[in-house]
C-alpha cells in the first residue's frame, strides 16, 4: 500500500513542533511511533500536508519519579514503560495493560502518548478508500449517517487504548502543550464521548507528559480479544485499588472510557456495579464480536477483575 504525498519535518522541541504545525496552517499531523497514524494514512483516513516527527524531542523521552508523581514523557515507548521498575512495583495494573497491548514488536515502536491519542475504530471505518467509497461515507468521515446504526446521530466507534483504562483507573493526569502555554487535565476529561471527534484537545495541541500519583496500588486488567496477540480490546476492564477503594474503568466499547468508584466490595455491591456497567456499555455491531456478547462481557470482566484484585491482591 502506498502512502499519500506529504512533507516531512523533524521537530527538535515542543515549541518547535507547535510552530511547525502552525506553519502548515494546521494541515499537519504529529508522528511519534506511527503505528496508529501510518495505517490511517495508507487508508486515506488522514491526508495531511505535512508529517511532523516528534521522536527527536529528547525531553519527552524521560520517566521520572519526583514530588509524589511518576512523570512519563509522551515519547516513551510502551515496551520501555512496561519494563520500568517503578511501573512493576507501584502500578501492576499499568504493567498488565501495557503487556496486553498489541504485540511486543509494536510495543517497542508505539509510544504512550500515541497510544492515548489513537483514533477510535470501527469495522466500517478502518477500511480502504475504495471500500468506504463503495459503502458510502459515514458520520466519522463527514457523511450524513452512521453505517452501523442507521438513523444514529452520534458516532459510536470504539476507543481502543488499553493503557488509557489503566491510567484513568490510576487517576492519571495529562499535560497538554498549546501555542499559548501548557495545561494539565485529568485524563478522563480529555474525551468528548463522540467517535467523530473523540478528544477535547484542540488541533495542534501536543500531549507532552502523563503523570500518575506515586502511591502503591493493586490492580488487574481484563481484556476481551480473539487472538491474544496484536488485536485491540473488544471490551476491557481496569481495576485499581488503593486503601480498599476500587476505581474501575471500562473501555473498548464506545468512544470514551467510563469510570466507576466502588462504594464497597461485598458481593451485592459488586454485582449491582457490574450490572450497571454492562447496562451503560453502548455496544453496537461495529466490531468482530456481537454487541450482545460484548455488552454482557463488560459485566463479566468487571466482576472477574474486581474479584481477582480482592483475592490475589496482585
Amino acid at each position: 500500500m502506498i502512502l499519500p504525498g506529504f512533507e516531512y519535518r523533524k521537530a527538535t522541541s515542543v515549541a518547535d513542533a507547535i510552530a511547525l504545525y502552525n506553519d502548515f496552517e494546521g494541515k499537519a499531523r504529529y508522528l511519534a511511533g506511527g503505528t496508529d497514524l501510518m495505517p490511517l494514512l495508507k487508508y486515506r483516513l488522514a491526508a495531511p500536508a505535512a508529517i511532523i516527527d516528534l521522536k527527536g524531542i529528547e525531553e519527552l523521552k524521560a520517566i521520572a519519579a519526583i514530588d509524589g508523581w511518576l512523570t512519563i514523557g509522551a515519547n516513551v515507548t510502551l515496551f520501555e514503560l512496561k519494563n520500568h521498575p517503578v511501573v512493576k512495583e507501584y502500578f501492576p495494573l499499568l504493567y498488565q495493560s501495557l503487556d496486553a497491548t498489541s504485540c511486543e514488536t509494536l510495543q517497542m515502536r508505539a509510544t504512550i502518548g500515541g497510544n492515548l491519542l489513537q483514533d477510535t475504530r470501527c469495522i466500517e471505518y478502518n477500511k480502504s478508500l475504495e471500500w468506504r467509497a463503495a459503502r458510502g461515507f459515514c458520520l466519522k468521515m463527514g457523511g450524513k449517517c452512521c453505517n452501523v446504526v442507521p438513523h444514529s446521530r452520534v458516532c459510536l466507534s470504539n476507543y481502543c487504548s488499553d493503557n488509557a483504562l489503566s491510567l484513568v483507573a490510576l487517576s492519571a493526569e495529562a499535560d497538554l502543550a498549546e501555542a499559548g502555554g501548557e495545561k494539565t487535565a485529568g485524563l478522563e476529561k480529555i474525551y468528548t464521548g463522540s467517535g467523530s471527534k473523540p478528544f477535547v484537545v484542540e488541533p495542534g495541541t501536543l500531549l507532552t507528559r502523563i503523570r500518575i500519583p506515586l502511591e502503591k496500588s493493586k490492580g488487574v486488567y481484563e481484556k476481551l480479544r480473539v487472538r491474544n496477540s496484536i488485536d485491540y480490546p473488544l471490551a476491557a476492564v481496569a481495576v485499581a485499588m488503593k486503601k480498599s477503594v476500587a476505581r474501575v474503568c471500562v473501555g473498548g466499547v464506545g468512544p470514551a472510557p467510563l469510570v466507576y468508584e466502588l462504594a464497597g466490595t461485598d458481593e451485592g455491591t459488586l454485582r449491582d456495579a457490574a450490572n450497571s456497567a454492562s447496562t451503560d456499555a453502548r455496544a453496537v455491531p461495529n466490531a468482530i464480536l456481537s454487541p450482545a456478547y460484548r455488552k454482557k462481557m463488560v459485566g463479566v470482566l468487571f466482576r472477574r477483575a474486581v474479584q481477582k484484585v480482592l483475592r490475589e491482591g496482585a
Binding site: 500500500m1 502512502l3 506529504f6 516531512y8 495505517p39 517497542m108 515502536r109 491474544n228
Partner: protein, 156 residues
Amino acid sequence: METVKVAFTVNNEETVLQVSPNETLLETLRERLDLTGAKESCGIGSCGACTVEVNGLPLRSCIVLTSEMQGADITTVEGLNREGKLHPLQQTFMEEGAVQCGFCTSGMIMTAKTLLDKNNQPTQKEIIKTISSNVCRCTGYKKIVKAVGEASKKTA
C-alpha cells in the same frame, strides 16, 4: 514534495539516499536496494512479514518512513549470513521444516533474532510470546517455535 536526504547503515554498508518523504522503509529496501527478503503482506503493521532489525529492535518496515531512519543501523535477513555461513536461525528453520509458503519466514527470523541477541536461553514461553508478534497463515507455529529453540542451543 521536498525530498529528504537520509544516511543509514544497511547490513554494515553505509547508504546515503535522497528519498520522497512518503516512502516507507520497506519500499526503500525492496525497490531501491534490491533487498527483497522483507515482504509486504498486510501493509498496515499487523502481520510482521516486513520485520527488519533497526538499532537492535525489531521494526515493521511497512509503517515506518525512510525519512525517520537518519543514522539508523539496519539489518535485514540478507545480512544474517557471515562469510557464506547461515545464521543458526536460518539453519534450524530449514532443518525443522519451519517454512511452509515462506512469506512470513524472514519476518519470523528477524523477530526471533532480536530475541536471541538479548536472551540466548529463552524459555518456550518467551519464544511463543516473541513469535506471537508475527502471523503465519499456513499456521505452522509449532515448528517455528521449535526452530527458534534449537537455534538458541546453537547460539548459546
